[in-house]
């Protein structure tokens, strides 16, 4: 883990929403090809942290760097980072007025300036990779939740990102659909993508994660391999949280 090239570096990241401190000094490094799972109670700052990485939230203190690019107010850096980072949201956020294929090819055409044929070919390949090539011409409203989330994953992958951020991707799905999405995420992890996943799915963490971070009150309370967490958690807070979800 430590000899891998650092992909995401966070040092002493602090963020306040008004008077409320959401992040109170987060320091961690995510290496290339690492799969990091972030767990913790709601309000602990895990979503805020990963949203800070692609500037959907602005951190007030500390330093974040993605693939060597510093995250500052400079729009050029922000744009460059957003091109390398793909994000999958809890509520999918697909564009309802475009078909599935158009959703996927939108960013490659307008941001990476690829031709339409190229983007559509890549798009169809991605749809096959996530397992739903036959839905290419349907609208998001006509798909099930699991299929929509898989389209969202394909859409994020269409930009060829180096890092994929997942913000509770399966929290809005029912158990059978959760499995289809997790399978896609496992395949993605095994193919070498750097991933940070905020989730409650412990089974996924156990199978695929290189590291697990436990967040509480805006900071990392404990971190370690999945084995460490499930066999030998140290901190009281960690033990309390795990006893409720395992």
């Amino acid at each position: 883990m430590t000899d891998r090239k650092p992909m995401i570096v966070a040092e002493g990241v602090k963020k306040w929403f008004g008077d409320f401190q959401a992040l109170s000094g987060v320091t961690t490094t995510v290496g290339e090809r690492d799969v990091v799972v972030v767990i913790g109670p709601s309000g602990s700052g895990k979503s805020t942290f990963i949203r800070c990485i692609n500037r959907l939230e602005v951190h007030q203190e500390g330093r974040i760097a993605v693939d060597g690019i510093e995250l500052t107010n400079d729009l050029r850096n922000i744009d460059a980072i957003r091109r390398e980072v793909g994000m999958v949201f809890q509520s999918f956020n697909l564009f309802p007025h475009l078909t599935v294929l158009e959703n996927i090819t939108l960013a490659p055409i307008w941001v990476r300036k690829l031709t339409r044929t190229e983007s559509e070919e890549n798009g169809m390949q991605l749809l096959e990779r996530v397992g739903i090539p036959e839905q290419a011409d349907k609208f998001p409203g006509q798909l099930s939740g699991g299929q929509q989330q898989r389209v969202a994953i394909a859409r994020a992958l269409a930009m060829n990102p180096k890092v994929m951020l997942f913000d509770e991707p399966t929290s809005a799905l029912d158990p059978e659909m959760i499995k289809e999405v997790l399978d896609v995420m496992k395949e993605l992890a095994q193919s070498g993508m750097t991933m940070i996943v905020v989730t409650h799915e412990m089974g996924f963490a156990r199978e695929v994660a290189d590291r697990v971070l436990f967040f509480d009150y805006g900071t990392i309370v404990e971190e370690g391999t999945p084995e460490h967490f499930f066999t030998n958690p140290q901190h009281d807070r960690t033990k309390l949280f795990l006893s409720q979800i395992l």
């Binding site: 959907l56 107010n73 729009l75 050029r76 793909g86 564009f95 007025h97 307008w110 941001v111 300036k113």
Partner: protein, 705 residues
């Protein structure tokens, strides 16, 4: 001892079943369902009585309308005789062919669009068709039975129900009753016999439309319309061949172009056809108004500049100048959407506008005196403006070069727009140049976001050149004299004018409304302030007042040297007025879009311009389509207000024919008929528009949950 808890296994469903057959239709079932619905006998009786009473009320209203229409004392000749006047008013008789040509082009484009976009209206099942015919037959019979003819003896005389004695029925009334009976019988017997099989087969709706068109064509060839005779009488005569032939030809041309469309779709790529059709629609409108209907007198000197005027100020010269220089700048700007472009825009714009203004203005002022004696107190406005603009331009350049952090493009845009507004308003330049500069500013700002790949750059450049071409050609055509000879202040009048006003006003108001809505919800305070001020000012005052303002006061507010034709002024006022309401509708839509959409768009790296144009605006407009359709319909009807400033739209003409008809036909007392016709006319358009809008909403999947 542990006892295994026993569950019960039911197994999966074997196969899915069809729903049970509905009970057979019949009069008894119909009465039970529609009249006698209810839980208790009292509820059933009350419901029955209520249903009958309200049905009779509705029928009475209809019957009143039909009695009014078919009363023998009606003078419908007022409407039929003045039809041409109501449609085109002052358009010279000799050139009426131009009007027919315009209608013909419209029909052809509609037929081709129907084929290419596949909106053939769907299919109507034979079941629905049968029901429709049967119900029309019933309605016919009821109306004929209830028609209260004047002077007939009554069989039944209740408050809501008066029936004439059959002995007093005229022959035509009996005939109509039999027609109703025949329709009812046909529908009823067909449904009885075909049963549920009728739901499977269907006819295309377009086929029915063609049948209707054929019936109307036969109608206009055979029917006789009322013609006035003397002061109070009328007789009937066949429709003039100057009307029957053109309509027949137009219908045939429409059907022919539909089939041509079908052939084209098989031969040519559909996407290319769609682009070509959009191009044709956009260009047909100015071509119809400016070339076909206006018949301008053109001269080569219009294009090339007259005599002493340098080539650079002639139409062709401006086209070449702006296409080349503007095109070069835009080609360069469309290179990438790197934020450095913000700086480059600042520098280039600063140079062009600041220094350029100085150069342009310095031609018309005595600079030696300025340098020797200082700027005089009585200096004309342009001198001060030139100084300010030049300084602002230099400031922009300095800012662009010095500021290290990426400037928010929006702030640069604000500066540019301010500078452009300053330049365009105060500096004396031909109006064409001012318009081209404004359009250049917009395209230059959008270019970085929509450019990038070589194809995209070519597309942006093509759009720029096309816009310059369109503007220059419109100006040349607009400035040319018209060869038509007409008697009133303008060759446009009647419905021709109403439609021109409505379409132009609406087409111009939509982009302006979108810009206003985006400005009002933007993060920059100055845009918000300006947009809110504009909207609240426009909304504070009724449309009539704005029309007066446009007709009388607008010239005072425009920069020196610009004057507009009265019709252009009215169109501008209509556009400005509607833009405010459209902006508020769209703002409602913008506010209904969840933040998730913005987040997803920015997480993928789309710029603000791109996410607004591709993600946010389409969804906002879809959300408020019903409100927008309402705005459009209201604005179409508001065009009748131009009567206040003396322009002759269709309502003005209809009202102005009492009295004042050409002698010897004096149409006293015909105003009700004219107004009734106008009401029906407006209703046909607004109703078909709202039905089309409804169908469009369904086709893009709105309203389905």
């Amino acid at each position: 001892m542990t006892d295994q808890p026993q569950g019960i296994v039911h197994g999966v469903a074997d196969k899915l079943e069809l729903p049970p057959e509905p009970p057979p239709h019949g009069p008894k079932i119909w009465i039970q369902e529609n009249l006698l619905s209810g839980d208790t006998p009292l509820a059933k009786a009350l419901n029955g009585v209520l249903s009958v009473v309200f049905a009779l009320l509705a029928l009475n209203v209809l019957q009143y309308v039909t009695s009014y229409m078919f009363d023998p004392t009606r003078r419908w000749s007022a409407v039929t005789f003045n039809m041409k006047l109501m449609m085109v008013q002052a358009f010279p008789q000799a050139d009426l062919l131009r009007i027919w040509l315009s209608v013909g082009i419209f029909f052809v484009l509609v037929a081709l669009s129907l084929v290419v976009w596949g909106g053939d209206g769907g299919r109507l099942s034979l079941f629905s068709l049968g029901k429709l015919i049967r119900n029309i037959g019933v309605l016919f019979m009821l109306l004929v039975v209830m028609h209260g003819a004047v002077g007939a003896s009554k069989l039944v005389s209740l408050p809501l129900l008066t029936l004439d004695s059959p002995a007093d029925w005229s022959l035509s009334r009996v005939g109509l009753f039999l027609v109703g009976l025949a329709l009812f019988a046909a529908g009823f017997l067909y449904l009885r016999q075909a049963g549920s099989a009728a739901k499977d087969s269907s006819v295309p709706v377009l086929g029915l439309v063609v049948v209707a068109m054929a019936i109307i064509t036969a109608f206009i060839w055979t029917v006789e319309l009322p013609i006035p005779v003397g002061q109070f009488d009328e007789t009937t005569g066949p429709i003039a061949s100057t009307t029957t032939w053109p309509w027949t030809i137009l219908f045939l041309v429409a059907i022919a172009s539909y089939f041509l469309g079908k052939v084209l779709v098989r031969v040519v790529d559909v996407a290319r056809l769609k682009r070509a059709l959009v191009f044709l629609w956009v260009f047909s409108y100015p071509v119809i108004i400016m070339v076909i209907q206006r018949k301008p007198i053109l001269d080569w000197s219009d294009l090339l500049g007259r005599g002493v005027t340098p080539f650079a100020e002639s139409a062709l010269g401006l086209f070449v100048l702006f296409s080349l220089i503007g095109g070069a700048i835009i080609w360069w700007l469309a290179f990438s959407n790197d934020v450095t472009i913000g700086r480059v825009i600042a520098i280039v714009m600063g140079a062009v506008l600041g220094i350029g203004t100085w150069l342009v203005v310095s031609r018309s002022n005595d600079w030696e005196e300025v340098f020797v004696n200082g700027v005089p107190e009585s200096a004309s406005l342009p001198v001060w403006v030139a100084i300010v603009a030049a300084l602002a331009g230099l400031a922009l350049i300095a800012g662009g070069l010095l500021i290290k952090d990426g400037i928010e493009i929006a702030r640069v845009i604000g500066l540019i727009m301010g500078l452009v507004a300053l330049l365009v308003w105060f500096v004396p330049m031909p109006f064409l140049v001012r318009t081209l500069i404004i359009i250049f500013a917009f395209v230059a700002i959008a270019a970085p976001s929509f450019g990038g790949s070589p194809q995209a750059r070519i597309r942006v450049l093509a759009v720029w050149v096309a816009l310059v071409f369109l503007v220059v050609v419109s100006f040349v055509l607009g400035a040319a004299e018209t060869a038509l000879e007409f008697q009133s202040t303008t060759f446009l009048g009647g419905f021709n004018f109403s439609i021109l006003l409505a379409i132009t006003g609406l087409v111009l108001s939509f982009p302006l409304g979108v810009v206003l809505a985006l400005a009002r919800t933007s993060t920059m305070p100055i845009f918000r302030l300006l947009a809110t001020g504009y909207i609240e000012l426009i909304r504070s005052v009724p449309m009539i007042t704005w029309l007066f303002f446009g007709a009388v006061m607008l010239p005072v507010f425009l920069p020196a040297g610009i004057s507009f034709d009265e019709i252009v002024r009215v169109i501008v006022i209509v556009a400005i007025f509607n833009a405010a309401y459209v902006a508020e509708n769209i703002r409602g839509g913008l506010q209904s879009i969840g933040t998730g959409q913005y987040e997803a768009a920015s997480a993928m790296g789309l710029s603000t311009v791109q996410s607004t144009a591709l993600i946010v605006l389409p969804q906002a407009i879809r959300a408020v389509l019903p409100a927008l359709v309402g705005s459009i319909i209201v604005s179409f009807k508001d065009t009748s207000l131009v009567a206040i400033i003396g322009l002759a739209d269709i309502l003005f003409i209809a009202k102005s024919f009492v009295p004042g008809q050409t002698t010897p036909h004096n149409f006293l007392g015909t105003q009700p008929q004219m107004l009734f016709f106008i009401a029906l006319f407006y209703w046909v358009f607004t109703f078909s528009f709202s039905r089309m809008a409804l169908r469009y909403e369904k086709s893009i999947g709105l309203g389905e949950h």
